[in-house]
Amino acid sequence: MPTTLLELRGVGKVFGGTVALSATSLAIEEGSFVAIVGPSGCGKSTMFNIIAGLVAPDGGDVVLRGATITATTGHVGYMLQKDLLVPWRTVEDNITMATRLTRRVTDEDRAEARRVARQYGLGEFLRHYPSALSGGMRQRVAFMRTLVTHHELLLLDEPFGALDAQTRLEMQEWLLQVWKDTGRTVLFITHDVDESIFLSDRIVVMSPRPGRVVADLANPLARPRGIHTLLEPDFIALKAKVLGLLHGGAA
């Protein structure tokens, strides 16, 4: 019986008359990779901001491993489409940035940053400033920064949304590798249906504004996944289903 890591209990948010997110309940299993798809403006980012503690929900609770963390920060890893690397720090120092924001960075922190960077293809860039890196490289650094916070739950909000198709596919495979190695729990927002299916164990589909969960689908595709996955009948079937849900009709 898998343990629940995160639970949303009826959290919702209204911004000045606009319902950004209808009361939503959701349980996320430890170690799983859950994709959240939905049209733009349906409240996906708002849901993440509530989980991260940036936005206080109008009602309901966020529960992480049994503890209520509603409207408090410092419990999850969080990454956006914008890499938010700071230009004045090297790659290594950007990776340890989250730590630096809460306490002194120790030699162990630095050693760990170097280790993960080397392990995942950034070893040669440790002393580079972010301005010298490509978009894909920058997102890798941003993800490493998220990883070394040691939070079990990682919230990734369209992290590859700004990358070209080729780089994006590379990054998806890369992310699956890191996820497999580290055993973290990932919540992944995307509006790219292919991406959601390629990556996830489970797909949460949201309706247009006011956003709510309209379907919660298990993803049966075998791992490890690769380009061949994109051509499997199960992939096509799931894609048809999700597209149907997103565009109103039932598939």
């Binding site: 410092g74 956006l80 700071v86 004045w88 630096r100 924001l101 960075v105 120790t106 010298a132």
Partner: protein
């Protein structure tokens, strides 16, 4: 790299030499009388020949400039931060600051003498008065334009306001901060000279020039002006150097060496 140094150092020097050449050409070409404008060479000689008299005066001007600048920059920074962080302070203080800058500094000087007497203090006050304003305005602007997503990310990680300020907001504002510091640097010497004019009883560079003027020593008048200008330029270049030194990421793709500071911990 070589090319860049040549471009960054060589070209400005060349343009200054060009100014001297044009000056020379005008004076010689139009037969300008030497009591109206000396040749560059005469102006320079008027300085070098009186160097032992001038040097203490130059030091005095530099001292006023440095004190006033450092106080003004610090005050400007703190004011900018406080105004950026506390809305009510911004509303209260901004109009006062604007008014302070609308006061013609030259008219302010006698007032300061009345209040503070002669000596170095009124000069420092004038320099401070001039320097803090561009610093405050730029710091305020810079802090107001830090990416809110970046600040939110810091919050998600559980950063305190202080750490967010030190680790994110201040470094993110270095470019506007240095804009303010550079503008302040170029005006600082002007402030010191105005102060010397209005509030000197004994010796000062400004009074030396006035004295030369009343003695119809035109070469020395020009020479002293050049000295004042050079102090201003030197101070500006010092600030530019500080900016270059403290913002390596703006020129380099790879860090030169491990870069550790204060809250970063670790030695070396």
């Amino acid at each position: 790299m070589r090319r860049r140094v040549l471009l960054n150092v060589g070209v400005p020097i060349l343009s200054l030499v060009l100014v001297l050449v044009v000056w020379q050409l005008i004076v010689v070409g139009f037969h300008v009388a030497s009591y109206i404008a000396p040749r560059p060479r005469e102006a320079i000689t008027s300085v070098t020949s009186q160097w032992s008299t001038l040097w203490p005066l130059i030091l005095g001007t530099i001292r006023e400039t440095i004190y006033g600048y450092v106080i003004g920059a610090a005050l400007g920074f703190v004011l900018g931060v406080v105004m950026a962080k506390i809305a009510i302070v911004q509303r209260l203080v901004y109009p006062v600051i604007l008014v302070s800058q609308a006061v013609p500094v030259i008219a302010l000087a006698p007032v300061l003498v009345i209040i503070l007497g002669f000596g170095i203090v009124p000069k420092i006050v004038i320099v401070t008065w001039i320097v803090f304003f561009p610093v405050t305005v730029n710091v305020l602007d810079g802090l107001g334009h830090v990416d809110p997503d970046l600040k939110n990310l810091a919050r998600v990680y559980g950063a305190s306001r202080w750490r967010t300020f030190v680790q994110i907001e201040v470094p993110a504002s270095t470019t506007p901060l240095f804009s303010g510091l550079k503008i302040g640097a170029i005006y600082a010497v002007t402030g010191a000279i105005i102060g010397e004019l209005a509030a000197s009883e004994g010796n000062s560079l400004a009074l030396y020039q006035e004295h030369a003027n009343s003695n119809l020593n035109t070469a020395a008048v020009y020479g002293t002006t050049m000295v004042m200008t050079l102090i201003g330029i030197a101070w500006f270049l010092l600030v530019v150097g500080l900016e270059i030194w403290s913002t390596p990421w703006q020129r380099r793709t790879v860090a030169r060496r491990r870069w550790r500071r204060g809250s970063d911990g670790g030695a070396g």
